[in-house]
C-alpha cells in the first residue's frame, strides 16, 4: 500500500474528454474572494485542468501508479466541492460508490485497476481514503444542503469507526486498513500511518458522529507524532509500529520520511492545531531561497535521498511555514503547475488550506 512514485510519468490514459457540466457556472461565494496575489479564480482554473487531466467519468486516475484509489476519489471530491462543482462532485461520488464501496464493511476498496479483469482485486480499505471521501461528502452536504450526502458521510464515518478505530496502549488509534496492520501481523506490533490522520476532517466528524471520540483519535495522532521524531532530522516515518510501547519506524517498510508523511504538515496546518513544536521539523524541509528539497529522507542517517517530485510538495511545506512563521506563500507557488496527480492534488490542497486558514499568507 506504500505509495510508489515511478521515475517515468505516464501520461494520461487516452480517452474521450467528457463534456464538462458547465463547471464555471457554479462559482461559489468563497472562491470569488480575492486572496492576495493568488488569482481570484485560481481554484476554478486549477480544478478545470485537474479534471481534464485526471478525471474520467467520475474516476480519478493516479497517472504515476496507473491506478485509481479511494484516496484519489476523496481528494478529487474535496476539491470539487471547494470549487463548487456539484456535477463533477456527484459524478465522482457515484463512480466511487459504485466501483469501490463493494464490500459489506461499508468501506471502500482501496485500489481499482483498469488492467485487471475484476478491477478490484483487494477489498481491503485504506482508512484515509474513506476519511477523505466522508469529509468531502460532509462538506458537500453543508454546501448544497443535501441530506443524501450527509447520510453517506455518516455511514462511512461509522464504518471507519467500527472497522478502523481501535484502542491501544497508546490511546485511540486509527488503523490504516481493515486487514494486515494488527499487532498479530507484525513482529513490531501495530502498524500505523500518521498521514492517515486527516486532522481537518476530524473537526467535521465530531458533529456528524457523536458515538466516536474523534477528539481522542486526534489526541493520539498528535501524541504519536510528538514521539515519532526519528533520526537526526527528527522526522516521522511513513509507517510506524507501536508494539514496543514507543513509536518506531515500522520494520515492514523502509525507514523513510517520504510521500506519505509529507502530508502530515498539510493536515496540521489545515486543522489549525497550533502545535508549533510539531510543525517545526517540517518547515525546513524546503529551502525556498535555494529551492532545495523537500527530500525523501533516510531516517537513521538523516541523509537526503530523492527530491519529492513536484511543486505541490513545496506548497505543503510553504503552508507549514505560514502556519508556523506567518511566512508568505513563495511567489513560485501561486500557480498550480501541471504536475502528476499526487503533487497537483497536494498543491491545490495546500492553497485551499492557506485560503481557508491563513489568508494573510497569500
Amino acid at each position: 500500500m506504500a505509495r510508489q512514485m515511478g521515475m517515468v510519468l505516464v501520461m494520461l490514459i487516452s480517452g474521450a474528454v467528457l463534456p464538462l457540466c458547465a463547471a464555471a457556472a457554479s462559482l461559489g461565494a468563497e472562491t470569488t474572494q480575492a486572496a492576495g496575489d493568488l488569482a481570484a479564480n485560481w481554484l476554478e482554473t486549477a480544478w478545470g485542468t485537474y479534471k481534464k487531466r485526471f478525471v474520467r467519468a467520475g474516476r480519478v486516475i493516479d497517472d504515476v501508479n496507473r491506478i485509481s484509489h479511494s484516496e484519489g476519489q476523496g481528494y478529487a471530491m474535496l476539491i470539487a466541492v471547494k470549487a463548487g462543482d456539484r456535477a463533477a462532485f456527484d459524478e465522482i461520488w457515484q463512480w466511487t460508490k459504485r466501483e469501490l464501496y463493494v464490500d459489506p464493511s461499508g468501506l471502500a476498496a482501496w485500489k481499482w485497476d483498469d488492467s485487471t479483469a475484476s478491477k478490484v482485486t483487494d477489498k481491503n480499505n485504506a482508512s484515509d481514503g474513506d476519511i477523505l471521501i466522508a469529509w468531502a461528502l460532509a462538506e458537500a452536504a453543508e454546501r448544497w444542503g443535501s441530506m443524501k450526502y450527509r447520510e453517506a458521510a455518516r455511514d462511512i464515518i461509522r464504518a471507519v469507526s467500527k472497522e478502523n478505530i481501535a484502542s491501544s496502549p497508546m490511546g485511540t488509534i486509527l488503523m490504516p486498513g481493515r486487514i494486515g496492520f494488527s499487532p498479530e501481523s507484525h513482529p513490531d506490533g501495530q502498524v500505523l500511518n500518521l498521514s492517515y490522520w486527516v486532522f481537518p476532517a476530524f473537526e467535521r466528524f465530531k458533529t456528524l458522529d457523536s458515538e466516536t471520540d474523534w477528539a481522542a483519535v486526534q489526541a493520539t495522532g498528535l501524541k504519536l507524532l510528538r514521539e515519532s521524531r526519528f533520526g537526526p532530522l527528527r522526522l516521522p516515518a511513513d509507517w510506524i509500529a507501536i508494539g514496543s510501547g514507543q513509536p518506531a519506524p515500522a520494520r515492514a517498510f523502509p525507514a523513510k520520511f517520504s510521500y506519505n508523511a509529507i502530508r502530515i504538515p498539510l493536515y496540521l496546518a489545515w486543522a489549525q492545531l497550533n502545535q508549533p513544536d510539531l510543525l517545526r521539523p517540517f518547515v525546513g524541509l524546503w529551502n525556498s531561497e535555494l529551492n532545495l528539497g523537500p527530500f525523501e529522507v533516510d531516517l537513521s542517517s538523516g541523509s537526503a535521498q530523492q527530491t519529492l517530485g513536484g511543486t505541490g510538495f513545496k506548497a505543503v511545506i510553504a503552508a507549514a511555514k505560514c502556519a508556523l512563521h506567518k511566512q508568505k506563500l513563495h511567489v513560485s507557488l501561486r500557480k498550480v503547475e501541471s504536475d502528476a496527480y499526487y503533487a497537483t492534488t497536494l498543491h491545490i490542497l495546500a492553497l485551499l488550506a492557506l485560503q481557508e486558514r491563513y489568508p494573510e499568507c497569500l
Binding site: 533520526g231 537526526p232 532530522l233 527528527r234 522526522l235 497550533n274 508549533p276 513544536d277 510543525l279 517545526r280 521539523p281 517540517f282 518547515v283 525546513g284 524541509l285 524546503w286 529551502n287 531561497e289 535555494l290 532545495l292 528539497g293 523537500p294 527530500f295 529522507v297 542517517s301 538523516g302 541523509s303 537526503a304 535521498q305 502556519a323 508556523l324 512563521h325 506567518k326
Partner: protein, 620 residues
Amino acid sequence: MKSMSLVLGCISTTVLSAVTAHAADGSGLRPGLLLSQLDSAAVSAPFDLKAPPPSNAGSKPAPTGGPLLMSTDRQAASPIAQTAARPVREANTKVDESALRFYASQNDSARVAMEIKRIKVLNPSWEPPSDLFDEAGDPAVEQKLWDLFGEGRYDEIRVAVENIRKADPNWRPPEKLVREFDKAHVRAQLIAASDAKDAHGVLAIAESQPDMLVCADVDSMWRVAEALIQMSQEDKAQELYKYILTRCPNPDERLATIQKAMDLLPAQAVKALMAAARYRSDNGSALETVQLDLMRRQIGAVASDASAPPVPPADLKPFEALVKQKKTSNDAVLLGWHYYALKSWPAASEWFKLAMDWDKLPKAAEGYSLALRQQGQLVEAEAIAFEWRNTSPLIVKLFVEIVATAITQANPTSLEEARLARMEDVVSTTKSVNGSQALGWYHYNKGNFPKARQWFAASVSWDATETNALGLALAAHRTGDRALFQKTIADYGKQYAAVAALMTYDKPPATPGKGSRIARRGAGGGGGGSPQAGQLANAAVEQFKNGQYREALATLDKRSGVAREDHGLGVLRGWALYHLNQYDKAREKFVELDKKQSTRDTQYGVYYAGAKLDPLHRGD
C-alpha cells in the same frame, strides 16, 4: 540569507501569549536585559560609589573577604562544568560539523539533509549527531550565542534568545551568558557615555549598577574615575583609584591605574595613592618605575612650561643624583630642558653636556648649543652646532640660525673667511632658505651687491619668500640689472606687497656702494642745528650701536626738543623702536619718513616693521 543566523523561533499566537504570560509573572524577558538578573549578590563586593569616604586612607581589604577569591573560583569552575555537559563523540572528531550545526541552528532541514549526505559520502562510517535540532541543549546554538556575545552583537543575541524562547518557552539561556550579557550591556552603555564625555551619564549608570565596579572590569572603574574628576569629585576618584590599587589582583592594571591618576590628578594626590599602593608587596619595583615616571612628568611639565608647578628640590636632588649615578642620558636631557626653561643656562648646559658625554645624543648637543648661545658663548655654540651638524636637521638649522643671527645684526662684525666659507658651504648643502637670505643681507649690507644678488637668487630658487624676493629685487636694483629687478617685481609683486612697493623705485640705480647702513647714515646726518643737537645726535647713534635702544630713544627725544629730527635720525628712531619690539610705532615712523622721502631704508623699515618679524624667522 540574513546575517542573523539564529532565527530559530517559531511564532504562533499561543506561544506568544505563553511568553507574555511568562514575562508577566516576573521571571520572563525584561527590556534591555536578557532575562531577569541572576544572583547578583554573588558578585565580589564592588566599589561603593555612594559610600562616604573612609576615614582611614589605605585601609586593608574588607574583612568579609573572599569576594575576589569567589569570583576567581567561579570563573575557573564554569568552563569545566560546561565541558562536562557536552557529550563528545570521539569517533567523529575528524569531521567538520560546523556547517551542519549552522544549518540546524537555522532549522534548515533541507540543507542539513544534504550536508549529511555529503559528509556520509566522504566518511561512510560517520554518524551524524543526534542532538542537531535539540534547541534547548544544542551546544551549537549556545556556542552561537557566545560567538555573538564575543563579537559584541548584543541586539542579535536578544533576538535569537527571544526566538528560541518562542519556540520553546521552557528554554532559558545559560546562566553565565545571562550574567555576562547583562554586564556587557550595562558596560557598553557606560563606555558609550564615557566616550561621549558624558560624565553625568557615566556616573548615573555606575550608580544604577553598583556591582559593576569590581576588579574584573578595571576599565569601567577608570572611566568612572575620569567621570568623577570631570564632575570635580577628585576625592571620590582618588578613592576609586585606591580601591583598584589596594584590592585588584592584576599588577599591570594597578600600574596603569597610577599612570591614569598621574594624568588626571595633581601630583600630591598621586603620591598619596602611591603610598596607599605600597601596602601591596608585589608593587615594589613597579612603583619605583612609576615614581620615576611621575618625577619625569613633573620635570617635563616645567620643561615645556616654566610656569608649571616647580619640582620641589627635595624631590629633584635625589632624582639628579640617580641620573648621574645611572648615567641615563635621556633624563639628563630632560633636566637640561627643565633648567633651560627656567633660564638657568649654566645648569642647563651642564646637563646637556653630561648627556652628550654619556651618549652621543643630537638632542643633547642641540640643547647644549642653545644653552651656550643663551649665555652669549656664540662661538662655542656655533662650533658645537657645526660639529654636530650631520646628526640632526635641527642642529644644522641651529647652526645656520646662529650664524645668520650674527651676520644680520644691526652692527655685524665681519666674519673671518673660514667661518663665512663653512656657513656658505652648509647653506648650499642644506639649501637653507633662511641661511641664504641671511647671507644675502650680509653681503648687501657689506655693499657686495653681486654676492648679495647671488644668495638672494639662490634663496628665491629654493623657496621664494617676501624677504628673499625683496632682497633679490633690491640687489638687482643695486647691481643695475633692471631686467632682473622688473622680472622679480613682476614675479612676486602680486604675492608680496613689500616687493610690489619697490615699483616706485624703478629709476636709474643709485651708485653702488653708497652707504645704506642706518648707523652710518645716522652718524653722517647727525649735524644741523646747535652743537648740542649734534652732540645728542652722536650720542644717540653711539647708544644705538651699543644696543641701548631705550637710551637712544631718550636721547633722540631730548634732541628733538632743540632741533628738528632729520631723515637719518628718523630712520634711527624707527629701528630703535623696532628693536624694542614696538613694531607699530616703528612702522608708523618708517611710513611717515617714506612719505616724505622714500629710500631703501624707509622701504626696508616699513616692510620689516610691518611684517613684525625678524627676517631670519621667515622662510624655513
